[in-house]
């Protein structure tokens, strides 16, 4: 595909017409994977391939998004997602602004809508939003005209995490059709689980979720996934085990008795891996609670792709920023 060479040399933008032949992903907002088509997902993942090649170079910087401003607005602490977006933007040549709740005027009582309008007024072309409340990106989309990427909204969706998971899986299995993926843990509060479910099903994989029954949300099977209570039964024929982070605060709310018992029933360890097929892929969105949902031994197993996921996160986010800026500012092409 000829146009990826252009991307790699930084000249692509000059060659792409708005609504032209090459770029089809033309959404202003990436709010979730629920409303993306399989074709759109594939296009993002394909675009991420040359992006990964770029970030493996010694000199990574491209001029592609020169003159663009990407603002990250994070209402929750985050290390990898925020830095991943920032690096993706910088390596594409954009300027970045980071707004975090601890230092912003949100502390002075400014509400979400005002904060968002202010960031747009400061000149942001993209707002990357992380928020503790489901639906906050939808409110943002109604409030501002700039491009928006959901970097996680409460227990709802985390589309870029799922995209990087899909990308990582495709490096192992070029076609996801028929692949058996087990997602383990707190499905109820996990935005990673939900975005993964949407993405995996759209690309033809089968998905099984397992976790304490008190952490399985009602009606989840209506999404098209299988619910299995027993982790060991769930992994028996799995191609992939995606392990979710468990949060201690759920224990305080009486949803499970203790981290100790959680580790015993749902912790992924050597013994669980011995039940799974030899070539099973081990994933975790991070950060890991080693010794709880996954042992150090399992996390560092040769079959684990946990650190690759982090690298791929930057590639996928570069691809998204690139695709979403495809039309150029005010429809004009940049040179």
């Amino acid at each position: 595909m000829v146009y990826w060479d252009y991307l790699a040399t930084g000249k692509i933008i000059a060659h792409v017409k708005k609504g032209g032949d090459y770029l089809h992903f033309s959404r202003r907002c990436l709010l979730g994977l629920e409303d993306l088509t399989a074709e759109e997902i594939e296009e993002i993942l394909t675009t991420a391939v040359p992006c990964k090649e770029i970030i493996q170079r010694e000199v990574k910087k491209l001029p592609t998004l020169r003159g663009w401003t990407v603002a990250t607005l994070f209402y929750e602490p985050s290390t990898r997602t925020r830095n991943s977006f920032e690096l993706a933007a910088k390596w594409l040549g954009a300027d970045t602004v980071n707004v975090t709740i601890a230092t912003s005027s949100v502390q002075k009582g400014e509400n979400f809508i005002d904060t968002a309008k202010t960031i747009e007024a400061l000149g942001a072309d993209f707002i990357i939003l992380r928020h503790a409340m489901a639906g906050a990106p939808w409110l943002l989309a109604q409030t501002v005209d700039c491009r928006i990427i959901n970097a996680g909204d409460g227990p709802h969706e985390h589309p870029t995490q799922a995209l990087l998971d899909l990308f990582t899986l495709k490096e192992k299995h070029p076609s996801l059709a028929g692949l058996k993926v087990v997602i383990v843990g707190d499905i109820m509060h996990s935005r990673v689980a939900k975005s993964n479910i949407y993405g995996l099903l759209k690309l033809g994989a089968t998905v099984r979720v397992t976790g304490p029954p008190s952490l399985i949300p009602p009606g989840i099977e209506k999404l098209g996934v299988q619910v299995v209570n027993d982790l060991r039964e769930a992994v028996r024929d799995a191609n992939v085990i995606n392990v979710l982070r468990i949060q201690l605060e759920r224990q305080k709310k009486g949803l499970f008795p203790s981290l100790r018992e959680y580790a015993r029933l749902y912790g992924v360890n050597k013994e669980v891996l011995s039940i799974a097929p030899q070539d099973v892929v081990i994933m975790h969105p991070g950060p890991t609670n080693l010794g709880v949902e996954i042992t150090e031994e399992a996390a560092s197993d040769p079959r684990s792709v946990i650190t690759t996921q982090v690298t791929n996160g930057v590639a996928v986010r570069m691809a998204l920023l690139y695709l979403m800026s495809g039309g150029g500012k005010s429809g004009e092409l940049l040179s």
């Binding site: 629920e34 979400f112 639906g135 939808w138 409460g154 949300p217 009602p218 009606g219």
Partner: protein, 429 residues
Amino acid sequence: MNYCLKNGRLIDPAAGRDCSVDLLVADGKISRVGPSLAGDATAAGYEIIDASPYLVLPGLVDLHVHLREPGEEEKETIASGTRAAVRGGFTSVVAMPNTKPPADNGSVLTYVRAKAAEAKAARVYPVGNITKGGKGQELAELGDLVANGAVAFSDDGRPVMNAELARNAFKYGQLFAKPFLLHCEDENLSAGGQMHEGFTSTRLGLKGYPSLAEEVMVARDLLLAEETGARIHIQHLSSKRSVELVREAKKRGVKVTAEATPHHLILTDGDVAGYHTATKVNPPLRTKKDREALREGLLNGTIDLIATDHAPHTREEKNQEFGKAPFGMTGLETALGLILTEFYHTGLLSLAKIVDLLSLSPARLLGIPGGTLAEGSPADLVLVALDREWEVKEEEFLSKSTNSPFVGWKLKGKAVATMVGGEWVYKEI
């Protein structure tokens, strides 16, 4: 001024009447009802109003309204809330006590009644708290509340979580012959809940508020009422199982009545998709199955009346993250249009039944005047253009708040003139 409403179609289920006749209003009362009264009335100097294009109904009575005054006048005042009421055809509203300060003592009730008298729109019947501050810890002075005009007791917005305290309230309440209006919610089961717990809450990533949170409390309150003999009224039923519990209790002879709101009768949890905060309400909008059970309950008499749970909130409060927005929606100005559109024009309910649900039944439940057009009763009535098509528009609300999920809806049937005590308090004809 005395009036003759000439040749309107009177619907008065209390008298079993549905016919086109004349109605005379003199000295604030309905003085005569019958055919061909206009001639005499003209001679006596009555103002003649051609009511032939309209229905003439007893003024509507809303058993469940939040007027927000005192304390939250930015959302609604007694003046704005009662103007909204009469625009919607309501001539009497029952004011819930969760104001700031709450109506847990006689002086707040006296204030509310004085403000209502000043407003000169709908009649306001205040409710007093069951517990001090509505906090569910100690009994309020129910005797003081009754002495100052409370028509019922309620901690609306919250349940009395402590079963022992609720039981004592029901026993002590036997002194006063006033009903308890109950908001049934187990606050442990509903804690943090944003919408109905089900597939849609899973999809949207919003914490679920299960039907069970209501049903557990309905069941408990029915048992407590059965034991103590208290007269209870279950507010805003939302789930199928709750309807069944009330039906079974009625069969056993428990002194229970129940209400449903227009929004629970019309919308479902699916309407929350898109995170529309206007649909955030307590109890939450539930499934189609629940909605069908509520409709069934209206038809078979399990549900006695329709009340709006008019709950105004400011734009600032509603225009934020779904999880932060407060629960509640306005209802006074849309209820009649919605019920006529969704239930009369679809053939589900007769006009007589609708008048019963929105006027006669709530008036009887509280023993307040109204609910009928019988000679001698106060001239509280509403003229309705049954086939008038109109759109719910934000800028036309007389309520201070516009948090209605029905904005933009096209409705058929509208109150066009409302009279309270023989005075026109709303008129668009």
